[in-house]
């Protein structure tokens, strides 16, 4: 059992001050009650609304004994303690007979009470400290590495990976180190990361609906770079002016999803939108919007967020709606000079309307990133270490940083859209890590 001020969270950190080594400190009393939860009162309804779980600071209650024959040594030691208390520090606590420590981030404070006893031949000072600290205790980092590819139909890490057995008591921010091997030129310039405990990727093959007036405008071509081996090509033309893709997904758990479609075309401005079909009536809430894509190469095009199956009820704590198949139509504006090619669509779950926990992040960089990028949920920054030595920040296009939730399997989805180089086989090595966050001083 030990209490030490250390310089960092690691398995063997440097000790700045030991509070329990008898030289001259001993911890006589110690309490670390969990922090209080903030709620909010409702307005005219019964109970309270829980918009967010937020915790108050934790107060660590420490009673230190300082005993020594040498009064000067006691004074010097006390000065050292006062300096530790005046700035935010890491306090490492190893519970009795435990093997893994927990770390607290303390805040600046001064001792609450100092009592001096004059015993014969010995100086005794008792210091009571109410040490404020961040609400959660941190455990040592849990890390692992996984290789993710760009093909969502792949059962092994296809565009996603799972983090199971998450430790801790509350959700913890996640750090992801993404890297590609040099054969792939660079990390693509934009990606999305969805971390959640709800929902799966759903896949559908994508093919153009042949226009009744010109059915030969649509051809199916074999292509080894396409997911599923074939791609659907809509020839250039203006009659009809739009190309339709009907996507049918099987066994969709009702919820909000972001629709990604693999698309390519020679360079030029393109517009597309999603339409929900209810019977024969089609709803188009946004109108045609410009899309960003990589010319000449397959890349994921982001068509926006929809609820699928359309207009289904929400899951509540009482029950959840059943999974069923869902159909949605994507509409593209045709070009008079260039063909439009598609091969596959995938749904990335973005839990919004249903009671679930998840985070969706989009980041992009205007320059060519190097072979790696870091998504750091703790400092909420995305950066790449580039060739001139800088850690250059990416832009945050939207959303929140990923986190992992203890007690349930967490699925992390990584989608590059749009991309420089986005072949389906491109492997990304993801080294993930998180520090478990504890309310109570170790579960595990």
């Amino acid at each position: 059992m030990s209490w030490k001020f250390v310089d960092s969270i690691s398995a063997s950190p440097t000790t700045l001050l030991d509070l329990h080594d008898g030289a001259p400190f001993y911890v006589a009393e110690w309490a670390a009650p969990p922090p209080a939860v903030r709620g909010s009162s409702g307005v005219s309804s019964d109970g309270s609304i829980e918009p967010s779980t937020s915790f108050e600071d934790r107060t660590l209650q420490v009673l230190l004994d300082m005993q020594s024959v040498d009064a000067d040594a006691v004074a010097v030691a006390f000065q050292a303690l006062a300096k530790m208390l005046l700035a935010p520090r890491w306090l490492r606590y190893l519970p009795p007979t435990a093997t893994k420590p927990v770390f607290f981030r303390t805040r600046a404070c001064t001792p609450a009470e100092i009592e001096e006893f004059r015993l014969i031949a010995v100086r005794n000072k008792q210091v009571r400290i109410d040490l404020p600290a961040e609400p959660f205790g941190y455990g040592l980092a849990v890390t692992d590495e996984v290789v993710v590819n760009n093909d969502p139909t792949n059962a092994t890490n296809g565009m996603r990976f799972t983090i199971a057995d998450v430790k801790g008591d509350v959700p913890a921010p996640l750090r992801l180190d993404l890297s590609v091997t040099s054969g792939w030129l660079a990390i693509p310039k934009a990606f999305m990361i969805q971390a959640g405990t709800y929902g799966q990727l759903h896949n559908a093959a994508a093919a153009w609906v042949p226009p009744p007036a010109a059915p030969t405008d649509v051809t199916t071509v074999n292509d080894s770079s396409a997911i599923g081996g074939t791609k659907s090509v809509l020839a250039a033309g203006s009659s009809p002016a739009y190309g339709n893709v009907d996507l049918t997904f099987a066994d969709v758990t009702p919820g909000d999803y972001r629709v990604l479609l693999r698309f390519t075309s020679p360079a030029g401005a393109r517009r597309a939108c999603l339409m929900q079909r209810v019977g024969s009536y089609e709803l188009n809430p946004t109108g045609l919007q410009p899309i960003t894509y990589q010319s000449g190469q397959f890349s994921w095009v982001d068509l926006g967020v929809v609820r699928l199956p359309f207009s289904t009820r929400r899951a509540t704590e009482w029950d959840a709606p059943a999974a069923s198949s869902a159909t949605i139509r994507a509409v593209f504006e045709r070009s008079t000079t260039d063909a439009l090619t598609i091969d596959h669509a995938v749904l990335v779950p973005v839990p919004g309307g249903d009671r679930s926990v998840g985070r969706f992040l989009q980041a992009s960089t205007p320059t060519d990133a190097e072979l790696s990028a870091v998504v750091d949920g703790r400092s909420e920054q995305v950066w790449s270490h580039i060739s001139d030595g800088r850690d250059m920040l990416w832009s945050l296009s939207g959303g929140g940083f990923p986190q992992v939730v203890p007690g349930v399997p967490n699925q992390i989805v990584l989608a590059y859209a749009p991309a420089v180089y986005n072949p389906r086989t491109m492997p990304t090595t993801v080294a993930w890590s998180y520090n478990p966050r504890y309310l109570y001083l170790r579960g595990d």
């Binding site: 967010s52 809430p285 967020v305 929809v306 992009s364």
Partner: protein
């Protein structure tokens, strides 16, 4: 995490910074018209850290879906001693539309010419001849005949009716009878209003009639550049018939750099004028050049029209005055305006608010910025389909006022001939009408009855200045999703369930029936309580009042 699953990103000179964990008291607001209105929060920041740089933009996202729910540019970072900075941001649409307050015109049919008297000729008299003189010796004398000048004649153009007795107002150029004019003498009148507004002449049209038919006198139309060149666009010999007006457009008929219009009468060879030497120009309409959505100047032919709609003005103002905005989707307005000019200066917001109010079918919103940092602003139709459904369990209060309910309206306007006409539209059924009078300055193209009906449509049911509080996600009927309370967009219709209905709430038309279906005027989401407060059917603050409200809260 706090902030109710919202994430906040601040973008400054140094790049994007996610500040979600360092802020408290987050309030996000959007309103209609306008779009995203404000974002306010307190931020932990040491006093020693540098000021938030100018041009910093804040975006608020729903962290679970990645979609934006609020944003704005930082206008008021207030550092405080305790290290908590109070940051206020104003939505880009609101801010950009009020940045410039300058004169502006689109179509001007009112006559405001600049005229200067010019000497057109002289009056002369012949003297001399035989004279009789009685002297001591008797006899006769004679003085040689000669013409002498008895006076100088100056002439100006003036705003008046023609001397032939018809009552049409216009510009009158008149040379009195018996004036000896030199060759090519000129009376000129100029209309310099595009120059005054810093804009360029796009097109013009006029008609004219003259007192005599003569090739000795001409009426000419010129387009000029202040301090620069000129083009003589048309030359007409005096004629008593009244030819139809012909649009003259920039690029084709005159140079595109002209900003000032002139009409002048020019005499022919030197002569003495006979009677009825006058020319009267009427229905003079000037159009300025307008921008299209892509930033190019619209062709002259496209502005050669007596009227302009809200959509024309909207696109031009956004391109001309708001470099941080770009034109999104534009809905064509219903009303054709015959006079659009603000010579004393106006902000784009003032102009659009006035026109949208008069038109009644469109309104404007600016929401997310694109990847290049430019925010699209849309001219949206005033929707008639209910978009959101909430129930009133989290709070609803609706004080009604019958002070603004009218069922009868009197509309007056001068007809094209100049006489004031009156039209009454009444929907009263109980024998105790409440009425209001609308006095228009110009004849509306859609007619007085239509104007009256438009007014009564708005005021027949009591407007609900009420408030509904939303504590959880609500159903969006158009996308079929459940949206975060902060993502409820103002300007849409909302149905509030759990409110006692009045008999006519069973009306299937989803218009503002003032009872269970309301238009959302603004949405204020407070992250601490996790609730959105929706103001219903209320007008919106302008920027000064919005700032005052932000700073005093």
């Amino acid at each position: 995490m706090g902030q109710g699953s919202l994430a906040v990103v601040m973008t400054g000179v140094d790049g994007d910074e996610a500040v979600t964990d360092r802020i408290s008291n987050l309030v996000v607001r959007n309103s209609s018209p306008g779009g995203y209105e404000s974002v306010e929060f307190d931020m932990q920041r040491r006093l020693a850290e540098k000021r938030i740089p100018d041009g910093t933009v804040v975006r608020v996202f729903d962290a679970t879906t990645g979609e934006q729910v609020g944003g704005g540019r930082v206008i008021e970072p207030g550092p405080a001693e305790d290290g908590i900075w109070r940051v206020s941001c104003l939505g880009e649409g609101f801010a950009a539309l009020q940045d410039q307050d300058e004169p502006y015109m689109v179509v001007d049919a009112s006559l405001q010419p600049t005229v200067q008297p010019s000497v057109i000729g002289v009056r002369e008299k012949t003297i001399g001849g035989k004279q009789y003189k009685m002297g001591k010796n008797g006899g006769r004398a004679s003085v040689p005949k000669q013409k002498v000048i008895t006076g100088i004649v100056s002439a100006t153009a003036k705003v008046a009716g023609p001397p032939d007795g018809t009552e049409t107002e216009g510009l009158l150029f008149e040379i009195p009878q018996g004036t000896s004019t030199s060759a090519s003498a000129v009376i000129a009148a100029q209309i310099r209003t595009p120059y005054l507004c810093g804009q360029r002449l796009g097109a013009f049209i006029y008609r004219y009639v003259c007192g005599i038919t003569s090739s000795s006198y001409t009426l000419r139309a010129d387009a000029l550049t202040f301090g620069g060149g000129s083009d003589t666009v048309a030359t007409h010999t005096f004629t008593q018939s009244s030819p139809a007006g012909v649009w003259k457009v920039h690029g084709t008929d005159f140079d595109s750099t002209r900003d000032w219009f002139q009409l002048r009468v020019v005499t022919g060879a030197a002569t003495t004028t006979l009677a009825n030497v006058w020319a009267h120009a009427r229905t003079i309409v000037l159009r300025t050049q307008l921008f299209a959505a892509d930033g190019s100047v619209r062709s002259g032919a496209s502005v050669a029209s007596l009227t302009a709609g809200v959509h024309d003005v909207f696109t031009d103002l956004v391109v001309r005055r708001c470099p941080s905005l770009k034109v999104g989707t534009v809905t064509t307005g219903a009303r054709a305006f015959t006079q659009l000019a603000w010579y004393d200066g106006a902000t784009a917001k003032d102009i659009l608010d006035e026109l949208c109010e008069a038109d009644g079918t469109v309104t404007y919103h600016a929401w997310e910025a694109d990847a290049a940092g430019r925010t699209a602003i849309n001219l949206d139709p005033v929707t008639t389909a209910v978009r959101y459904e909430v129930n009133s369990k989290d709070g609803y209060n609706a004080p009604t006022s019958s002070g603004d309910v009218y069922d009868r309206v009197v509309v007056t306007a001068p007809d094209p001939a100049g006489f004031t006409r009156r039209q009454v539209v009444s929907r009263n059924t109980n024998g105790r009408p409440r009425s209001k009078t609308i006095n228009l300055d110009a004849w509306p193209t859609e007619g007085l009855t239509a104007v009256g009906n438009q007014f009564l449509d708005k005021y027949a049911a009591p407007p609900n200045g009420g408030v509904v509080v939303v504590g959880e996600r609500v159903r969006d009927l158009i996308t079929g999703r459940w949206v975060h309370p902060a993502a409820i967009k103002s300007g849409n219709l909302i149905r509030v369930l759990g409110v006692q209905p009045n008999p006519d709430s069973l009306n299937p038309d989803a218009k503002r029936d003032g009872v269970t279906i309301f238009r959302i005027a603004s949405n204020t989401y407070t992250a601490d309580s996790g609730t959105a407060t929706l103001e219903l059917d209320q007008p919106v603050l302008n920027q000064d009042r919005a700032l005052a409200a932000l700073l005093s809260s």
